[in-house]
Symmetry: C2
Subunit: 310 residues, 2 copies
């Protein structure tokens, strides 16, 4: 238990989290190893991108850490509803871990996790505002209801340890966020999504941070469970083709709707780290409609908001 | 030569253009045929999407026609800098033909063409403002300098028939528009792009329309030239893999930067017609760098603004 974590402490915990998750994913994969790419941000800070390709179970997986800082852009201040006075400059600091895993098998789901911390400080280095954000969500190529239930139960467990309001609120937030409006489809079976978790409503910085670290530590056991359970299930060309189409939807969500991706690409973020989330391959077919009552049609029918899995 | 074309006349000419282009593409392909999908827009109008897949030369090609109308949304009026008075309602009418062709062979370029007409009329049905837009641009998987030069020469020919300022202006516009800022790459070797061609500066509605139709009629002979010339050139797995990576870039441009795609997806356009431009498959590889002096590296070096091909 940490008392009032500083940005350095948050950063160090996130670095440890990245290392630990990569180790656990490598162990579960049994073959692939993460390469490591360090990069600097011209305006301040940088990151370490870790990528595993052509593993035994993982086809392409990225585990990104970054910590970036600098003078807060006016556009960010405006977005946050904060004053943009030029005679009162502020600095920002942002750190996080982001993960997307694309498995070989269409029977193993795609997963995404993110934990992040953001703060703005004034010229005396006093923190003016801070918050945590993050979440975990699951995108099965084929929805297995038992798996979806198990996934949501584990997320509810970690949420309930911290506050009874967390799971229902953050589950709904994920349904709303991971939504392809132009397809009227959710990206997958959702999960939890949260942002702007501040020291208010009885929550302290320590309690928010402990929750966020708990979410981070939930990722590896949860995903390696699906890796072990599902990777040997049989599939053929039909399932691979469907997987490529679903990966196409993943591309559509990330490039059209994901705020983080859009913001990163429009503000000169490190492109290769941002687009690490894209699948190794994807496919598009004009007006593809799965056969009625097929396994694919059943999956589509479950890609909607508001399903209570727990 | 038409005198002061009405929106009905523009629409009819665009329908004829779609038909003619589909016929010429089928003839050049020698195997594939276009299927035809008619759709209605709930707010008014609709379109016909024509798609050819698994031809002899064309892997996936879409030739869209649409003509849509209705009450002008305030957001559109604002974008155009027009008043949004509720007591003075206006109607819009928009019609166009849009084409994207993805060939099987990485030696045949991807091509895109668009011609469009937009008008806003008041409650007395008087046209308050109108303009034409459009263009043709080429995205080779491997840049062949002779092909790029030929392409730009043909575009300059059709532009020069109408006004000496057209080619240099619209060529630069294409360089600026078909640009992936997050990659610092142009989408391909450019071409021409134009918008807001109104009846001003000595140009009449007839002269603008004649130019736009000329651009439309240039498409089929130009692209079938490349189909015939390049489809039998040899290639192997290396060139296919590079083609998939370049198609990935095509997806990135269309979903992240293309105004028409973004506008369509955000305003409940017909998704399948909008995303017909996406390739049959695409690939992403973390931090892919072609070998120095390879054919792939030479192509990358030519994907930049400001190359004068003519």
């Amino acid at each position: 238990m940490l008392t009032s974590p500083t940005k350095e402490q948050v950063r160090e915990q996130f670095i440890s989290l990245q290392t630990k998750i990569c180790e656990e994913l490598e162990r579960a994969d049994g073959q692939g190893t993460f390469i490591s790419d360090e990069w600097q941000r011209p305006g301040g800070g940088g990151g370490v991108s870790r990528v595993l390709t052509q593993g035994n179970i993982i086809e392409k997986g990225g585990v990104n850490f970054s910590a970036v800082w600098g003078r807060t852009p006016d556009s960010t201040l405006k977005m946050l509803g904060l004053p943009t006075a030029q005679d009162d400059p502020t600095d920002f600091f942002a750190t996080g871990v982001s993960i997307v895993i694309h498995p070989h098998s269409p029977r193993v789901p795609i997963i995404h996790m993110n934990v992040r911390y953001f703060e703005i400080s004034d010229k005396n280095n006093d923190v003016r505002t801070w918050w945590f954000g993050g979440g975990i969500d699951l995108t099965p190529h084929y929805v297995d209801e038992g798996d979806a239930r198990y996934f949501h139960e584990r997320l509810k467990d970690v949420c309930d340890k911290h506050h009874y309001s967390y799971y229902p609120e953050f589950k709904r937030w994920a349904d709303d966020y991971f939504f392809l409006k132009h397809r009227n489809e959710t990206r997958g079976v959702g999960g939890i999504f949260f942002d702007y978790l501040k020291g208010e409503g009885g929550f302290t910085k320590e309690s928010r941070f402990t929750f966020v670290l708990d979410v981070g530590n939930t990722f590896a056991p949860l995903y390696t469970h699906f890796m072990k359970k599902n990777h040997a299930l049989p599939y053929g060309d039909r399932e691979k083709q469907w997987q490529y189409l679903r990966r196409g939807r993943y591309v559509e969500f990330n490039l059209v709707w994901d705020r983080g991706t859009k913001f990163g690409l429009e503000t000169d973020g490190r492109t290769e780290s941002i687009l690490m989330s894209l699948p190794p391959q994807a496919r598009w077919e004009y007006n593809h409609q799965p056969a009625p009552d097929s396994e694919e049609a059943k999956t589509l029918a479950m890609l909607r908001k508001g399903i209570e899995w727990v």
